[in-house]
Amino acid sequence: MSELRPLRKMALTGDEAVAYAAKQADVDVVAAYPITPQTIIVERLSRYVADGELNAAFIQAESEHSALSICIGAALAGARTFTSTASQGLALMHEVLHIASSMRTPIVMAIANRALNSPLNIHCDHSDVMNARDTGWIHLFANNVQQAYDLTLMAFKIAEDPDLLLPVSVNMDGFILTHSVEPLEILSDEEVRQYIPHIPYPYRIDFDRPLAYGVMALPDTYMEFRKQLFEVTRKAPQVFRKASNIFSAISGRSYDLLTPYFVEDADVIVIALGSTIETLRYAARRFRERRLKIGVVGLTMYRPFPEKEIVDVLENARCIAVLDRAYSYGGVGGPLYTDILSTLYKNQIGVMIADFVYGLGGRDLKLTDIEQLFNKLFKSLEVGRFDQDIYWWGVKDD
């Protein structure tokens, strides 16, 4: 059927596309506090509400901490709930992030990934979401504006799945995607309604059937609550696939946990998150013209970490480079690197691997930077080892 659908092509910025998806999702409550580079998302949503195009309560909170707290209340009341934030805003939400997941509220939040202070910087990196890595949220990453739109719709399907009931974040690179105009194909409102019909939240606040929410749990019960969170999170990959299959039947576009590209015969594999993936693919194709076999792996789902799928694509690699757009200061390496290291060790895969920290605070990863990086990988493969475990790539020499 999909080839008979009329194409609805638009040109939108990432922020506009996400706002449009939230409008089509017919959200009931938007609670947010403005912060660059996500501000346009909530600006658009407030306009949709003011113009009568979206029947929702738009609540401008006095801080991100309150915004997410409002979202929790709204979600428990059974409302489809959306918010968006970035950087310091996500950091200010931090304690509430844990509450949102452990109270099993299916909130969808767009994160316009931006660096953390200090120095003050409004540009892209992944330090904000990496601080939220261990909060029990499902974290998805878009590679382009089309994916930002699609994943926002899918996020509602995933979050509200009765088997899951967990909050989902849709990450898109600040400015690089939020403020870039790109073509995308949108679904009709009717298709979106079919894809994500409003289903009642099973534990909604109901005065005729009172329940206790946000209770205190002492040492004799707390751990059981937490084990439930551990167990339900492990269901997210299958819920993602279910959501993706239905989405694919409607849109013709399909998504998986990973986006492996040219990995089958690759000597060298690079792994990254976000908009960098597509630039890496472009550069990898140019290298392949010179018979240098590079594979590129992107993660669409970062949390829960798609361990099994990562093993499938990496088990035959000879050399792996992980690109981290954030760092764990004082730690073993960047967050993605340490995830990959753990996965490889658990599965007894010994392979050359190094971490490349790049793009902090919006530092552009130019094609020439990528070419130098690829050359470095092939040179290291030739000698059989990396001369460092962690490289800060694209940093000016002293």
């Binding site: 040109a11 409004i122 540009h123 690089i176 094609l367």
Partner: protein
């Protein structure tokens, strides 16, 4: 793929015109990407914006360093364009907002095969609508030389973007610049 870099000053609509070009190209069925230079928005300060247009999907999400086209909206920056043509491709194009003063420009720093085009954006806009608007005239000249997107498509995007008299005003100066762009070779 064609890569375009826009230069001008904050307040001259540098980002807006790049955005309009990208949306027009998409409406015409092409793939396009527009992104601003991600800096603070300061009135009067130099501003850049970038457009990519292609027949294939565009994967690159990094900056433009070797543009096919450099287009300068500001008059003063057009008169002293040398700092802004950095990285221009050897056979690239430069669009300058110049009138009679175009004969004085110093071409010594341009790549030998580069082509220069001029649009007298001030004259066109002041004569047509009584006030200086530089971005849309420069776009008119550009789409004439690139042979895409069509004027009709750009006018459709302008109609969606602006309202009331601004639509007609912008279409007027777009069309006149389209007809009056000069090829200096």
């Amino acid at each position: 793929m064609i890569e375009i870099r826009w230069h001008g000053r904050g307040g001259q609509g540098v980002v807006t015109v790049s955005d309009i070009l990208a949306r027009s190209a998409v409406l015409e069925g092409k793939y396009a990407q527009h992104f601003p230079e991600f800096g603070p928005e300061r009135s009067g300060a130099p501003v850049k914006a970038f457009t990519r247009i292609s027949d294939e999907p565009i994967e690159i999400h990094s900056g433009i360093y070797n543009p096919d086209v450099v287009i300068i909206i500001d008059r003063g920056m057009s008169q002293r364009f040398q700092p802004y043509i950095d990285g221009l491709k050897g056979n690239g194009m430069v669009f300058l907002n110049l009138g009679d003063d175009a004969s004085h420009i110093d071409r010594s720093t341009l790549p030998p095969a580069a082509k220069v085009y001029t649009v007298d954006a001030r004259k066109i806009s002041v004569e047509e609508i009584g006030r200086p608007i530089f971005n849309i005239p420069m776009l008119g000249g550009l789409v004439r030389v690139l042979k895409m997107p069509t004027l009709n498509i750009v006018e459709e995007v302008l109609s969606g973007r602006f309202s009331g008299e601004l639509v007609e005003a912008n279409i007027k100066i777009l069309r006149r610049a389209y007809n009056e762009v000069k090829n200096l070779g």
